[in-house]
Symmetry: C2
Subunit: 351 residues, 2 copies
Amino acid sequence: MVARRGADRGDGASAAGSRASLKDVARAAGVGVGTASRTFTGNGYVGEETRQRVLRVAEELGYRPNRLAAGLRSDTSHLVALVLPDLTNEFYAVSSQIIHARLRDAGYQLLVASAGTVEDEKKTLESLIDYRVDGIIHVPASSGSRFRAPCPIVELNRRSHSPGIASVTCDDAAGFRELTRSLLDRGYRDLALIVGDEGLSTTQERIAGFRDALGAREGTVHSGGAVHSRVLPGSYSADWGHRACLELLGATDWQPSVIVAASPRIATGVALALTQRGIVPPRDIGFASYSSPDWFSFWGGGVQTFLPPLDQMARRATDMLLGQLSDPTTLPSSVVLSGELRPGGSVRSIG
Amino acid sequence: MVARRGADRGDGASAAGSRASLKDVARAAGVGVGTASRTFTGNGYVGEETRQRVLRVAEELGYRPNRLAAGLRSDTSHLVALVLPDLTNEFYAVSSQIIHARLRDAGYQLLVASAGTVEDEKKTLESLIDYRVDGIIHVPASSGSRFRAPCPIVELNRRSHSPGIASVTCDDAAGFRELTRSLLDRGYRDLALIVGDEGLSTTQERIAGFRDALGAREGTVHSGGAVHSRVLPGSYSADWGHRACLELLGATDWQPSVIVAASPRIATGVALALTQRGIVPPRDIGFASYSSPDWFSFWGGGVQTFLPPLDQMARRATDMLLGQLSDPTTLPSSVVLSGELRPGGSVRSIG
DNA sequence: ATGAAAGCGCTAACAC
DNA sequence: GTGTTAGCGCTTTCAT
């Protein structure tokens, strides 16, 4: 006998402390469970009068459906998993917010997990899938990971390059190409790029775009002098930005005339290092950044910025997933959105 | 007949496309489902030899438990709901990260939802409870909301003041008292406080602390002059900080000698307004803040800051919930943690 | 130590 | 339209 809840419920009336079940509602309304179920799911016919009675009784009994049971039976949990490397990162925090809002409107709940390493990631995804999530939005921890999920999955921001997986990314290569070109156009000849983990698709793209723009100019004499560059890969953290910048400033063989921070957090570290050394951009050095942290609004004088369309990316990813969910025959596609170049010296308004 | 999955599975072997169930594993291992279940849950005895066989077969079949079913049956979903006003807010982003990590270690998954308004909040909580979450961590949208959940719930940061609900908050009143006193001690006599929604317990505390420190000094002549103050309630956003600050600076009747921002976002708005007006703290005006955004690390010279123990709060809240979950007889308690005053002019290190 | 069986709350056939 | 029923995958007695 199972009797953990509603002990000794006698003839079956729901006991105090136990929540009313569909059966309770059906009984109280004098209908079969099928009818009661149909009333709530909307699948199948229910007479208007009966419907009202069921609804009223449910209200009185404080009935709430058990989604665990519904999910088990119907094989649709109305749960979506969101797996990302770090909730703390502003980009992902904003993404979560947007994704959550859209999914909520569509009747889904969000199971969120962060997974830093590749190993972690696999375990996390599996645990989430154990809840029979209907779909997954995933920011891969590395560009090599391969994972077969039993449900639609769309990758956000980074790509694992698994064949046939939907993804929404930003064209970082193009962005960094443009950004770098604009720096060259402004006359900068010694460029340093501080970037994150080399294993990430985004990092690879950013470096590629940077190098691409430098292209043949590298090491050769161009109008105004020879072009030199240095790339410092590390991690997408303020700490790395700080350390890398201090290293650059302390070097005796070469000094950059402009520093490119490949993420807002790196930019924060760079700003700290510059401040500590009493170096003021753009007077003493050039400063460019990928994406713009809050404080650019009042410190941004001279900071050339490439802005990825963060909001749009999250929105698109969610819409793609919802599309797959409502029509499973939809083929997964890869969407690449473009960012926008924002000239330095501007003071943007904030929200 | 129900046959949506594993169509025509004939003798019962799991068909392609359908996931292996416990029954499949049991059959393949030549044991009863009960034994197979015990192998995974650890409840009850299983012979070592049998155990190994079941485990091996499960591995081969790629078996993964269905937590929906387990939750339904055992009435413990291993799901915890996290309901907060805004994922975008740095405090809540950090909290989520900490809470997630701790819960994950304890074998729980996180159902996250943001709810801005009181109405939203009730619906959100109900939807989450429909998944039979084992517990809830909640940042109430207002200090008036009352909600009875069928599971342990601990309030974080703000309190709804519902009787008998566990909570972890910061002693903001004390913090603002100290902060304000230190400002008075430094000789400031005209203090403006820019704060958020008046309906929140935190706002009320912050204003109370501020007023408390001003106390009898208000409007009277004190060493160095009469003390005057103004409180501007609005919302905890950069936009409000910006507008409120511009309003203060534009007023003709009274000018503050120091501005206190009651949140990092408000501080960001204030910093923008000051920059736009060419006002440099602490040279031209005093600037104090609650909690410290990243950029204080390089812009924070002269910014007096009260630092709430954000990490500790999230940790404590999670531990309290886990405590309630492992021992339901634990009585809910209210924990109030103290923050720390950080003198202006310092440049803190960043992570 | 293990198998058989009941049943968690719900949905979806199916019969009427 | 509505009631009945089978069963989703699992846990948990209970008997052996």
